[in-house]
Symmetry: C2
Subunit: 335 residues, 2 copies
């Protein structure tokens, strides 16, 4: 067993009771004389005492630990979001640990079980496969990082992908494109991805026929973007412009276009989504729909704190951050 000093050792050295030490270590607004506090602090310093979070957590049922569940830390979108979350939560005394599920449903469920066993105070999660019911059953305050309507019992915060998709299509159609391909990600469960809904709505409103062969769904991942693009290029009448559901897919698509000996934007225009750093330095640099990643993290963290402190409104909130179009050099009028 550890021979680390306990609160009792400190109490003995300081010549006070363990309760007093606990008061000094814990809440700073506890009633303890300045002189006594000094004695305790000196003893803590001298012994190198550190609070045992396990014991404290067992007693109080609060661990001041928050877990962030991500499907894919390799996507540069998330570190930015994580930064916002950490900045807010660490400022309030919480530690943020990251759980990377790698798109693996089983691993995600294992993390969920761990969050219960270890009594995490809260969760911020971009779900891969976990359902609303499972999250409710989990019993830990949670915020969903996605504007998914599948989570009625949680605050959800995300970027307005529907609106962002409209921005991208307005841009491409405004340039004169009529055959716009969509490389859509897969959404969890049976729901239709919001980008796809938006795509269909937009085309219908602008009286452009929706052709199924121009729509490809695939998992998020550069190689899948490559393959999906290949599929679109192999059509008898391939699209003149592409909107990809995120930048990772767009980079894959860009590569496929080049591999086919075509040029961007002369032969095909390409627009991505997220505005990860990498797409500003590809050749050509990519036009993309930017999301406010850092703010997303801050907002999610703020909502979570309110839930933990039971200072949140009864009704669950849906916070959509606006997207904006960043025009670079990958989009141009059709030739």
């Amino acid at each position: 067993m550890s021979q680390r000093p306990t609160i009792i050792d400190v109490a003995r050295v300081a010549g006070v009771s363990k309760t007093t030490v606990s008061r000094v270590v814990g809440c700073k607004d506890a009633p303890v004389r300045t002189e006594t506090r000094q004695k305790v602090l000196r003893a803590i310093e001298q012994l190198g005492y550190e609070r045992n979070a396990l014991a404290g957590g067992l007693r109080t049922d609060r661990t001041y630990t928050i877990a962030l569940f991500l499907p894919d830390i390799a996507n540069p979108f998330w570190p930015e979001v994580a930064r916002g979350i950490q900045d807010v939560l660490e400022g309030e005394g919480y530690a943020v640990v990251l759980a990377n599920s790698d798109w693996d449903a089983k691993r995600e469920h294992k993390f969920l079980a761990m969050s219960r066993r270890n009594r995490f105070d809260g969760l911020i999660i971009n779900p891969v496969s976990v359902t609303n019911a499972e999250l409710v059953a989990n019993g830990i305050p949670a915020i969903i990082l996605s504007l998914d309507t599948d989570y009625p019992d949680f605050d959800v915060v995300g970027s307005d992908s529907y609106g962002g998709t409209t921005l991208a299509l307005e841009h491409l159609v405004g340039l004169g494109h009529r055959r716009v391909g969509l490389i859509s990600g897969l959404s969890r469960g049976s729901r239709q991805p919001s980008r796809l809904t938006s795509y269909v709505d937009f085309l219908q409103q602008h009286h452009i026929p929706v052709e199924n062969e121009l729509i490809v769904k695939c998992p998020y991942g550069q190689e899948h973007g490559w393959r999906s693009m290949k599929q679109l290029l192999d059509l008898d009448d391939p699209p003149t412009a592409i909107f990809a559901a995120n930048d990772i897919l767009a980079i894959g698509a860009l590569q496929a276009i080049r591999d086919a000996g075509l040029r961007v934007p002369q032969d095909i225009s390409l627009v991505g989504m997220d505005d990860i750093y990498a797409v500003s330095v590809t050749t050509p640099s990519l036009t993309t729909v930017a999301k406010e990643k850092y703010e997303l993290g801050c907002q999610a963290a703020t909502f979570l704190l309110e839930r933990i402190r039971e200072a949140a409104p009864e009704r669950f909130r849906r916070h959509a951050l606006p997207c904006r179009l960043i025009q670079r050099t990958s989009s141009a009028p059709p030739s």
Copy 2:
């Protein structure tokens, strides 16, 4: 307080003692009759009991939690390494949490304190600023992800960057280059980065003068790679080839070269290191020194398990994984 069922509730329902329940939940090799075990398992199922890791950890001083400290989850190098670590450790019943310091020394130290308070069983760390002495004082088994000689009291595992640098230079000098620039990362503390040492050694062995103006040190980060490259291009007699300490820097350098209106490899050859996925799809694709990322993670995890179980040799180990050169299209003979 939580109304979750405890081991005692299970014991009551199953009609046995809490000790017996503990035996069933814990070590599977404990002596308990099959019939009794069934009764307990049924009760657990019925009540939805889950072990409280806080209470258990308090008693045993083992939490089956490992923390992975990374400076920068945005670097695609790490997810690969993390995958290896997770695969090994989760297989042995450990949970892996990720702590992202974002190159922030203060945050790294906060994580270190957290690892003590929360009694993590082990640490795998690519250090930003934490010293050997601090890690020893931390008292938790740790493995260093880097072949740094600054950590004599720990097993270190990393790729042989010294050898990898030699591979890169053999390649470039073999192509006929004599003015090879080095974009070197910064190393922690006052030590000389191994890539720089290797660079100097190699040039001297090949009787090529070492010119300080061809050596630029900068933090790891794409924008720093860009700036460093700019600086090298502004020389009166710029290099004909560049070796960048990692692929992120190389991508930045590539961008700077293009921004200067020069071509790779016709005007300047460029070689990176790590072999992250992105450099296989840049234009041109980058020649790079590949590291065995997944194996790196597996090895570190294996070493850590041995330390935790006190099954490791007394002497600290230094495990260097070999690098190999991947030739792509960014390197060619000087014109």
